[in-house]
Subunit: 225 residues, 2 copies
């Protein structure tokens, strides 16, 4: 019973994720079926598959998260806004949006803020959720403070430590640092290289409200690699 | 004299590239200045910076290449078409477009073709160039044949072996295989991990018409890492 409860608690925090460029529709179907079976909070998938997933998950509790400007963040604001709209029209409940690091590191923070605000306002009007992806491994402490301050101003729902495609993955230190810098109303998603139940538990203790991983089944089943 | 001619010949094939997510406008300015100085055929840069680059290169021979659906290729067709239009409006002469591998490996080749055709037609109407990025390291020989056949049907200008963000980089074998599978009118761009002049020369011999590299200066200056 205790084990079952722990599994449910963990599953309720997991974005069951498949974002490889060669993902197939068959794999997305399997991902959605697993998400229903294990009651993961969401699937996190490429924009291309959101419609397929919506057809499979329409009557289920499992949410659909899609990615915007992913994983490099440097599409133009116009394109990222259109991509967000399209994902929501296709059925996405949650948008994992990569911050424009080019603009950020070029000193154009106003532009970064405007982009995040535009997408977040569009999402909130539709009762959808925005997770802002930064890349903590590329940030100095002062960069991280400024990025968190933009997240607060834009009123995003989550800050996510990385895309999983750049630099190192989620670390306990990075998540604890985000938890320390952000107000409670902003949740934290840990993502990148998370493969074991112990890592998940450590990241949750450090402050993660959501775990993005493509190893969710092995984490729940405790078949540790 | 001989050395100078060789340098010019190489420079005329190089896309001087900076596609890191944390690229700054200062770095783009430097990249453009170097491209003018060394007469590289093009700069290859994030969509976010195309307007900046256009302002710097408007009166120069150096072309601007931007990336579309980069590097994972799984944005929706609608978004990739809009991104292509926007890049051309901003001043891009060349579009490095990632093929939708999700659609391809899901067996939706018609959809892949339609997307590439749409973008290529839009580009050709404006006298712009399309480089179709596949990921040769993810492809079996039969996959590669099918992908090349789509490139031919869509009448793209170049096929490019990879984005540089996925799998292994450009190899002599991959470029030779592409050259073997594609008709002469379709050119080949080699990209990913190219760091030395010898690598460049080998790839050109194997069939590369264009070299995408972020190590162009050290290649020309022969300061080999």
């Amino acid at each position: 019973m205790e084990k079952k409860r722990e599994e449910n608690d963990i599953a309720a925090k997991i974005d069951h994720t498949l974002l490889k460029p060669e993902t197939t529709s068959q794999q997305i179907t399997q991902l959605c079926e697993q998400a229903i079976e294990y009651q993961f909070v969401a699937v996190c998938i490429p924009p291309y598959f959101v419609r397929n997933a919506f057809a499979l998950l329409e009557d289920e509790k499992v949410k659909i998260a899609s990615v915007i400007g992913f994983p490099l963040g440097y599409s133009s604001s116009f394109i990222k806004v259109e991509e967000a709209k399209r994902a929501m029209e296709d059925g996405a409940h949650e948008l994992d949006v990569v911050m424009n690091l080019c603009a950020f590191f070029s000193g154009n923070e106003k532009e970064v803020l405007k982009e995040i605000q535009s997408i977040t306002q569009l999402a909130h009007l539709r009762n959808k959720i925005v997770k802002l992806i930064i890349e903590t491994s590329l940030f100095s402490e002062s960069d991280l403070k400024r990025a968190c301050s933009l997240a607060v101003k834009a009123e995003v729902d989550f800050v996510k430590n990385g895309s999983g495609f750049i630099g190192r993955g989620a670390t306990v230190e990075a998540i604890a640092q985000l938890r320390d810098l952000l107000p409670k109303k902003i949740k934290i998603k840990a993502s990148g290289g998370i493969k074991t139940k112990n890592e998940v538990l450590d990241l949750i203790v450090a402050g993660a409200d959501r775990i993005g991983t493509s190893a969710a089944i092995q984490i729940i089943e405790k078949v540790e690699a």
